[in-house]
Symmetry: C2
Subunit: 360 residues, 2 copies
């Protein structure tokens, strides 16, 4: 087992990465102070892993299991209200601990519920998808979606601990696994060129889910995220670079309705668009765009936006993004490979020149 630390003063917490952590009672119970627990999972993950987690928790005075429907389209205020109904109905006190067992959707909505229930209760992340393990479970961003925009309603709320059991990845469907790889690739692109080059070489072994290569990829991804979050918890500056590809990606997700494109798929396409824009500005070589396209394709990720999305629709949806400040769109681009920057000077003309050829 490897342990990383997210350094946030009194809100610091450990990330444990290893095998069979789900059934590690000692590890889990170190971070569950009271006798009450709320376990939140979804209908896909719960049948596979809930029993192990439940057994590891041992005897408790009150355990509520909440099984959500599976999918991004359920990460909304209505489902959040259902969670509150269950937790209130069972009379959980402010000393309860909410545990998210599942992917990013479960983690985001459970974390937001934990942030709001009685103005904040203990929270533990047990991510079971690659995407959640390398991205959404680390850093304290919690949220639900609004029909007009993704993650628009939420809180910065740090977990007490993150338990990453890499065994859970063996049950992950290939499409979701690939979606997680998109975020892994992102860390190389924004901050760590050697990691990116390593990923280009190791992709075949990553795709075969070689445990040693996988553990290394997760650890380097989490370390990158932990550093960025420690430097900028509430996204005042640096943290924005984690959104490479996300503004384009969110537009795709919103246009298609949540759940049709996976988040990682939309981010993959978004990253490629961002790299194209970076190349259009002369910051990276055109060959890098082709190489990223190839890497994404080899990972089984989409490299073009949906055919029915127009450039105008992109621009409209991006105008609703959280990264818009006082009317100016902020985009993450690459100043060089492994070096992200945030720009707010992209004109509508530049966007049209970029997006119109894509919307064929």
């Amino acid at each position: 087992m490897h342990t990383l630390h997210v350094e946030l003063g009194e809100r610091s917490y450990p990330i444990y990465i290893g095998r069979d952590l789900l059934q590690d009672a000692g590890l889990l119970n170190n971070h569950v102070p009271g006798s009450q627990v709320v376990l939140v999972s979804n209908e896909t993950v719960a049948p596979l892993y809930m029993d192990r987690l439940r057994a590891a928790l041992g005897e408790r005075s009150l355990v509520t299991e909440i099984i959500l429907a599976d999918g991004e389209q359920y990460k909304n205020l209505d489902v959040l209200a259902e969670i509150f109904d269950r937790v209130m109905g069972d009379r959980h006190s402010r000393n309860t601990t909410m545990v998210a067992l599942g992917g990013g959707v479960v983690g985001d909505i459970t974390g937001f519920a934990a942030a709001c229930y009685q103005r904040g209760v203990n929270f533990i992340q047990v991510p079971t998808t690659l995407l959640a393990q390398v991205d959404s479970s680390v850093g304290g961003k919690t949220a639900v979606n609004h029909p007009l925009g993704k993650n628009m309603i939420g809180a910065f709320y740090q977990p007490r601990a993150v338990l990453i059991d890499i065994n859970t990845l063996h049950s992950l469907p290939p499409r979701e696994y690939a979606a997680g790889l998109a975020e892994v690739i992102k860390y190389g692109l924004i901050r760590d060129e050697p990691f990116y080059r390593w990923l280009q070489q190791q992709m075949p072994r990553l795709l075969s889910r070689d445990e040693a290569v996988l553990a290394e990829a997760i650890e380097r991804s989490c370390a990158c995220k932990a550093e960025v979050v420690a430097a900028d918890e509430r996204e005042g500056g640096l943290r924005a670079i984690l959104n490479l590809g996300h503004t384009f990606g969110h537009a795709i997700e919103t246009a298609q309705g949540y759940g049709n494109w996976l988040h990682g798929e939309a981010v993959a396409t978004g990253m490629l668009i961002a790299l194209k824009l970076s190349a259009q500005r002369g910051w990276v070589e055109a060959g890098e765009v082709a190489a990223l396209r190839e890497l994404l394709l080899s990972a089984g990720l989409p490299v073009a936006p949906p055919e029915d999305m127009s450039a105008a629709q992109f621009i409209d949806l991006m105008g609703r993004d959280k990264k818009v400040i006082d009317g100016r769109l902020r985009l993450v681009l690459l100043r060089a490979m492994g070096e992200a920057c945030v720009v707010d000077d992209v004109s509508e003309e530049e966007l049209l020149a970029l997006l119109e050829p894509l919307a064929s």
Copy 2:
């Protein structure tokens, strides 16, 4: 104008108390950094004061006015969702400022909306009721109610500034004014016996809304609250004393349905019950119970729970309170006049002995 400061490190903020602050453009605009503003009020307060606030804000690129229905029963997740729909629909960025103009309900729900919208935007409190001015606008507690319990879903989220314009109190209906006085009296009881004695003397002038006495009462109340909040922002300890009378009071509010008893009315009755329990334990003289009863009556406040509430119903509802930790009910009592303490050793028998004679 007087200025108090709530000292919370980087979350510190000023409380301004004075006349005609609503139309003080300089004061307001010092705390509204961007060009976008969301003004939230209710159908009672908006016709009286919204124009002044709107004028003070001057030219802005985007101003959204949201007028809520008036009443505690509208402080819920559904109305919160309506606020998000409006703010999203108008495309407010994370640099927007949400301003709450109204009483505690408007302040609580607007503050919670500001805490959650894009994971947190600027927030300003402009409380127009006595209760909101001395209590709910100061300290960063925001929330909505759940059908099974009051303020169960919320966040600690500090405003950038609190503007208390005492002129607004002249339009306040007597019943709501009295409800605010309950919280003023609370500060004397929990922490400041000289203030309590002063209030016993000054009640006639307070009831006639003498501006000098009123300004003094508001300032001493806010100063007390600011001190307690600075010492314990997230209610780990000391802050709990601010809940004198609230556990009994919330039970009354929940039993009666939100909006039938005003919060301050329920707190008044709750404080009297808490003082009775303190006297029952020999901590304060029985004469103080009679004196508080007289003070509350003179202020026009209720001094007995609803006739149809049984002791069993009280105990059941109190079991759902946020102050319950791992099954133990925590109550604020008075160790002496002007000196609150928190106890968790009140038995069901002691509660029955206290509550059964009240439920006649």
